[in-house]
């Protein structure tokens, strides 16, 4: 049963996890001294995981109750006491990396249960009405028919009043804004069908359309619910990713007491203590201490920056090597992060202007259908003079053209497409994202963290001597610096050769040193370790260089193939990066991208995208950093990797959880194919109407014909949606897919 142990290494790579203070801050008070903490456990995926996680946590003395939800990969722990039990550590010991889940976001979703309840009610009513209708159609005598019509009316009422609200509300909302959407003709059709049937039942008529009205509600709700479930699942998966911005920070008061404050309560002038491995909570100035700051996520710069007393640091960046004492210079809502959010909000116009395909179809569709019904009424009234007959025929036209197939045409295809993407680790947050992705003609990539992994990789180590390499690996293991990480990753198996290091000291901005067998070993900057000023990282013994290491920026797996596939698909590909020109040029050359810009500020990225859009280009933005978030919001459609900054992930339409950049062409393929199927479905719906409409106008429609025609067209549309092929070949390796969120591990390493 060890199928799921991801290895103890995971926990170590996280660096410092959430502190007890942070866990306490994120927990919810249930009263009675009981507190609840939700943790995301991305690697849980089988029965053994359930028993290991619940068993391990349940044995902690303060834990009252632990339950794992395998669908959301989240464990809910209820505990007592003032200090939280060592939850993360216990899970790490069991082999699972865990991180705090946002409190309050896990409340059961009212909209989903509302949709499912509506669906249940509509299903119950539709089934029973259909049962009665079949008896009527097979020739019930008039008394029985009349009784059945009344029962049907009574059954249709809850479906209309309760389940139908989903459509009525959305239709009313659209009308209030002077627009129409697909729900307007649907609502009109349902209400008129019900009204006419009720009128006819009163007057002992032979035909009633209760079954049509309720079946319509049921079918459409099926599509709507599936659509919602799919999107919700994707959103859950994105939310379960690790949060990169800190929730708070330890503040040192003037009298020397320390207190952990939530981020919103930190004021300029407060003294903050930020240990190595934690993120900087607000913009601040370094008061004391030396360290290296990883700014990749904030500026796109790949190399860490050394800071010392007097340097300024930005909110959201990662303190790598040494503890820092900071003085806050801005409140959280004035920090760099908040500025990005403001830029994002300003940029969001383009996406809001986009109108969904279904709504655009409805805008053409409703006037045509409503006009046809009206003309039918006028025609019949003029030729027969029979008002009731004319109204009946006109309403029959509306019922038979009521856009059941049209209402399903878009959501069903998008559900199938989103499902296919989900299996490949790509989360679609919104159906309109798929529509917009199918339209793109250019792609803009960020470099650091998107085209590259953001972490350097060891290229060469200068020697093959296992003793020397072992010492280097052992020293590097003592540090969180990205280059040390790269050495550990490259030489980790050499550590067995190395003597045990008892007291290693990290000198921020310089390197690591330790005494082994009476000799001083240093790993770090050449000038510091060996006294010679040359680039690169050096391992030195008592000031004599033993070997030197060189590093390279690692391309994200599949980056070259993805870029090539996009270029072959006829898209213009370019890079917009905040990093130095040399680094960007190297990456661009390796990937065969001709157009690139380096040193671009966040606002300039937005400006560039807006310029593209004013030229008529529809751009896909792929980026991960805080600095990309406004651009992600400004682009026509956007994608972010799982390792992206929180607000970037929230701004993007797609989030891909696997490391490989294949996700971009794959999503594009699926989106384009989905677009094709949607158009086919529209065509099917139009053909259906072209056949059904003359029959309805001629007055030949009976409830039986309406039921058969509408069901047939819906089944046809759903069947066509299931033909979606894109992305199917890659679903073979389920085990791999099940592990998808494990990429969140690399987040801290970067």
């Amino acid at each position: 049963m060890t199928c799921c142990a991801p290895g103890a290494d995971t926990a170590a790579r996280y660096g410092a996890g959430p502190t007890p203070d942070e866990i306490r801050l994120a927990s919810r008070d249930l009263g009675d001294g009981l507190r609840q903490t939700d943790l995301s456990v991305p690697e849980a995926h089988c029965a053994a995981c359930i028993s290991k996680i619940e068993g391990g946590l349940g044995e902690l003395p303060d834990v009252e109750h632990a339950r794992l939800n395998l669908s959301t990969r989240r464990v809910t722990v209820k505990w007592r006491g003032d200090t939280p039990p060592p939850l993360i550590e216990t899970l790490a010991a069991a082999g699972y990396s865990a991180h705090l889940f946002e409190p309050g976001e896990d409340q059961s979703d009212p909209q989903l249960s509302r949709l499912i309840r509506s669906l249940g009610v509509a299903g119950f009513c539709a089934m029973n009405i259909m049962l009665l209708s079949v008896s009527i159609w097979s020739g019930a005598d008039p008394a029985t028919r009349q009784a059945f019509h009344w029962i049907s009316a009574a059954l249709a009422l809850p479906a209309l009043l309760y389940s139908g609200q989903v459509f009525f509300r959305s239709a009313w909302g659209a009308l209030q804004h002077g627009q129409t959407n697909m729900d307007v003709p649907i609502s009109i059709g349902i209400c008129l069908a019900f009204g006419l049937s009720l009128y006819d039942t009163f007057h002992h008529g032979a035909h009633a359309y209760f079954d049509a009205a309720t079946t319509l509600i049921f079918f459409l709700l099926c599509g709507r619910t599936l659509d919602y479930v799919m999107r919700e699942r994707a959103r859950q998966a994105v939310r379960g990713l690790m949060r990169l911005s800190p929730r708070g920070a330890t503040v040192m008061r003037a009298d020397g007491t320390r207190e952990y404050l939530p981020i919103g309560e930190i004021e300029p002038g407060m003294v903050l203590l930020v240990p190595a491995g934690e993120r900087i909570p607000v913009d601040a100035r370094v008061e004391n201490g030396r360290s290296d700051i990883d700014e990749a996520i904030a500026t796109g710069e790949s190399a860490p920056r050394a800071v010392a007393t007097g340097s300024t640091v930005q909110a959201g960046t990662l303190n790598l090597t040494g503890p820092l004492t900071l003085v806050a210079t801005a409140r959280a809502d004035n920090s760099f992060l908040a500025e990005m959010v403001r830029l994002m909000e300003a940029a969001e116009g383009g996406r809001a202007r986009y109108r969904r395909l279904a709504d655009r179809a409805a805008r053409l569709y409703s006037p045509v259908v409503h006009l046809t019904a009206f003309l039918t009424f006028v025609g019949w009234a003029l030729s027969t003079g029979n008002w009731h007959l004319s109204i009946s025929v006109a309403i029959a036209v509306l019922i038979i053209t009521c856009p059941c197939a049209l209402g399903l045409a878009v959501p069903i295809v998008q559900v199938v497409a989103a499902r296919r993407l989900f299996e490949n680790g790509i989360m679609v947050k919104d159906g309109s994202g798929l529509e917009r992705l199918a339209e793109i003609d250019s792609v803009v990539f960020d470099k650091t963290g998107t085209l590259t992994l953001g972490a350097p990789r060891l290229r060469s180590s200068g020697t093959n001597d296992p003793a020397v390499l072992g010492i280097a690996a052992a020293l590097a293991a003592q540090s969180l610096h990205p280059m040390s990480r790269a050495i550990v990753a490259g030489l980790g198996d050499m550590r067995a050769e190395a003597p045990v290091i008892s007291a290693a000291v990290e000198h921020p901005g310089l390197g690591v040193e330790a005494e082994i067998n009476g000799r001083l070993y240093r790993l770090g900057r050449s000038a510091w370790a060996a006294g010679k000023d040359q680039p690169g990282t050096v391992l030195a013994c008592d000031g004599h260089p033993l070997t030197s290491f060189t590093f390279e920026d690692v391309l994200r797996p599949g980056a070259a193939e993805a870029v090539q596939a996009l270029q072959e698909a006829g898209l213009a590909v370019e890079i917009l990066s905040g990093d130095h020109r040399d680094a960007v040029a190297t990456t661009a050359r390796r990937l065969g991208i001709e157009r690139f810009e380096a040193g671009v500020l966040p606002a300039e990225k937005v400006a560039h995208l807006e310029e593209l859009s004013s030229k008529g280009c529809r751009t896909l933005m792929v980026g991960d950093g805080l600095n990309d978030a406004p651009a992600l919001a400004a682009a026509h459609v956007s994608m972010a990797p799982a390792s992206a900054a929180d607000i970037g992930r929230n701004a993007a339409d797609f989030v891909f959880l696997h490391e490989s950049l294949d996700a971009v062409p794959l999503a594009l393929d699926v989106a384009r194919e989905a677009g094709k199927l949607i158009r086919q479905n529209f065509a099917l719906a139009i053909i259906y109407n072209a056949i059904a409409l003359p029959i309805a106008i001629a007055g030949f429609v009976t409830p039986l014909i309406a039921a058969v025609a509408m069901s047939l067209s819906s089944v046809l549309v759903v069947g066509n949606a299931l033909r979606l092929k894109g992305g199917r070949t890659k679903t073979r390796n389920l085990e791999q897919d099940d592990r998808e969120p494990s990429q969140s591990r690399m987040v801290v390493v970067r």
Binding site: E54, G58, L70, T72, F124, I151
Partner: protein, 53 residues
């Protein structure tokens, strides 16, 4: 016709019972973790670390 007086209400009552059961199971959270439910049947004993009371 006289049989219908019994059978139709009976059919409706059965249907309504099923609907009620569905709504109850929805409310009591039985659809919250479908993947977990599928795997939990494989566990021998949940008493030690499941819900206490």
């Amino acid at each position: 016709m006289s049989t219908l007086v019994f059978l139709v209400p009976l059919a409706l009552a059965l249907g309504a019972g099923a609907l009620g059961a569905f709504l109850w199971s929805l409310r009591s959270g039985q659809y919250d973790d479908l993947d977990g439910a599928a795997h939990r049947i494989l566990l021998d004993d949940e008493k030690d670390h499941g819900p206490k009371g």
